[in-house]
Amino acid sequence: MVSSSDILQYIFSGITVGSIYAMVGLGFTMVYNSTSIINFAQGEFVMLGGLMGVTCAGALSEAGMPAHFAIPLAFVLAVGATTIVGMLMEKVAVEPTDHLTVFHYGGMAAIIYGLCRVLTDQSVPVALAVAVILTIGAYLLLKNKTIHSMKNPSVLQLIIITIAMSILLRGIAMFVFGKDAYFMKHFVTEDPINILGATLLPQTLLVVVVITLAAVLVGLFYAFTLTGKAMKACAFNRDTAKLMGINDRQMILLSFALAALVGAIAGFMVTPITLMDYDRGGMLALKGFGAAVLGGLGNGFGAVLAGFILGIIEGLGAGLISSGYKDAISLMVLLGVLFYKPSGLFGSTEAAKFKDF
């Protein structure tokens, strides 16, 4: 017999994952609104936030820093680094350009360096030298060449590019962090709180508070700051926004930065509860997209709400039906939403049919 405290328990566990889906969904929405692209790499931002957070916190603690300084500092470092990754991604692979920029050359140098080290086992200075020399050579060869393929990338092209970036980020994470799951100690006391027969981890409460705060701040940013309003204008009609003097490229860069930011926050906060490994991003992106669609693609507030709803459904499904199949259950909910109400709970059906891709 399933008791009401069992159900409450399932709901509590669902809230934890739901908060991640909420943030991923919010990230999807922000990028989609400004570019019409579905950023398949969204889940990797969560993964990076978690893995970098563990690494930073571990390094700081080993250096002697006490936990209540180490953790917030690690938070800032990890979230900041992931945000930079998001911005680099936009600069290298998404932003239209007709020539190779300094970011492309930087990426080229990094790839050559990596290949030298991994394939031919060169030492660090040799690999660096080879990378620098080859990159300078490439620059001299290509500096006056126009690149047509990235001048006006189609949405289809960009979506596949984000798919490629998500695989790439996953591969780099596997290379750097290995395949093991990483673990962080809870930020607060580990004693569970007892509510009506169900146990609630204080960390879960912290996660929900932080994430709700982040979502609210993002909402306020969009609604009340000039930059936020500029981003909304850009999302609404890019050409008119440009005519109004808004730098659309900066706005798009900012949307990627924000998406990476919220993803990383979620990743960092939940790692103590759910652990984190290099491979999590894919499933998170899928379910986060489900949240975004369920909330009405383009509706940030809807995405956050839908994320929690999806998480609770998953928690209940895992507890009441089968925990082995819980992923399949949430995916079927996602498919159900896609099939029967693609406009989601808060969106419009017409808007679901007419955009670039």
């Binding site: 579905i38 692979a93 790839i111 991994v118 394939l119 690149i147 393929s149 990235m150 990338p153 949405v155 289809l156 092209q157 979506i159 596949i160 590019i161 798919i163 490629a164 970036m165 998500s166 695989i167 790439l168 980020l169 996953r170 591969g171 780099i172 596997m174 290379f175 894919g282 499933m283 899928l286 997209f289 489900g290 669609v293 039906i321 089968s322 082995g324 199949y325 992923d327 399949a328 995916l331 079927m332 996602l334 498919l335 896609l338 099939f339 029967y340 693609p342 679901a352 049919k353 955009k355 670039d356 891709f357």
Partner: protein, 345 residues
């Protein structure tokens, strides 16, 4: 089908016919055979991606259904090989219709995510111990009030169908009656003749009214609808066709390797097929085969990548999509400016 394509087809046919006489090394043949199997999946995906402009990241799911259906029916139920293949095709048509009809009404990224989801679900089901699955059904049935003993005995024979994570061994080789396909050379012909047939089919499709309608859809969907093109039905049709091809490839694969496990049917493979089509050139069906051969031969010669193949796929896909979005065949077409080039705008 256009003079250029016809000539290429003839050359391709001759190549297929004489290849095993030139290359007899069984290892190379094995590589080319796998390339062919993936190539068949790629032909379907190329039609979907290049002509209907829809992304599917779930072809491995259709591949899996084809493989497991052939495997289960021949191993557990003693069906003949051709029956397994046909049932696999039928099943995949059903799944493609169920997934395609609602999502293809909308924009492309919905299909991308839906196919990702379906592929994952199929992977989870294939990987889960069927015993857990029958336990699950039993548990649900009991809750609904059915007799648990009767349920158990009814479900018992199905409790080891897919073999779960350890896979399904003992699949018989391809064959009809006394005649079986066993040697690498025989398999080469079995696989590449099928690929040839699908190429002929696809090229005819592209050069027909349907093909022109598809290109119209890819160019501008609203305009195509305004011109009377039945857009939803065509998109679903191409999607189903890609599923059928993946199904046949899956059945061939199952009979070729005689042992299938869920690890071969994950999103990894769906991405690989996407990379193959992108590398070869998604606007041209030949690109599918070119990409499949390249991406199958390359890892073999770059053995030292091991685990990092996922990183290489991501990098290759990224570089191709950024700097050579028309793929290798597309670049060659641009350079030589073939008069029959299939530029869908």
């Amino acid at each position: 089908m256009g003079r250029g394509n016809f000539i290429t087809l003839v050359i391709f046919g001759i190549l297929v016919a004489v290849f095993p006489w030139i290359v007899t090394n069984p290892y190379y043949l094995r590589v080319i055979n796998f390339a062919g199997i993936f190539g068949i999946i790629c032909i379907g995906l190329s039609l979907l991606l290049g002509y209907a402009g829809q992304i599917s990241i779930g072809q491995a799911g259709f591949f899996a259904i084809g493989a497991y259906t052939s495997g289960i029916l021949t191993v557990h139920f003693g069906y003949p090989v051709w029956a397994g293949i046909l049932v696999g095709i039928a099943l995949n048509i059903l799944v493609a219709i169920v997934v395609g009809i609602p999502t293809l009404k909308l924009r492309g990224h919905y299909l991308a995510m839906a196919t990702l989801g379906i592929g994952e679900i199929i992977h989870i089901v294939a990987q889960a111990d069927t015993e857990d699955f029958t336990d699950l059904i039993q548990a649900i049935g009991e809750k609904l009030g059915y007799n648990s003993d009767k349920l158990y005995s009814a479900l018992e024979p199905y409790s080891a169908l897919t073999g779960g994570p350890s896979g399904l061994p003992g699949i018989p080789p391809l064959g009809i009656g006394p005649w079986e396909v066993t040697t690498p050379t025989e398999w080469f012909y079995a696989i590449w003749v099928v690929a040839f047939i699908f190429m002929v089919l696809s090229l005819n499709l592209i050069h027909s009214r349907i093909g022109r309608a598809l290109r119209a859809i890819h160019g501008n969907e609203e305009a195509a609808r305004a011109m009377g093109v039945n857009t939803p039905r065509l998109k679903v049709g191409v999607f189903v066709l890609s599923a059928v091809m993946a199904s046949v490839a899956g059945s061939l694969y199952a009979h070729y390797v005689s042992f299938i496990s869920p690890g071969t049917f994950s999103i990894h493979e769906s991405i690989l097929v996407l990379v193959m089509v992108a590398v070869g050139g998604m606007m041209n069906v030949w690109g599918a085969l070119v990409g499949a051969v390249i991406m199958s031969a390359l890892p073999e010669s770059l053995r030292f990548f091991h685990d990092y193949d996922i990183l290489m796929y991501g990098l290759v896909l990224l570089l191709i999509m950024m700097f050579m979005p028309d793929g290798i065949v597309g670049q060659i077409q641009k350079v030589f400016k073939f008069s029959n080039s299939e530029k869908a705008g």
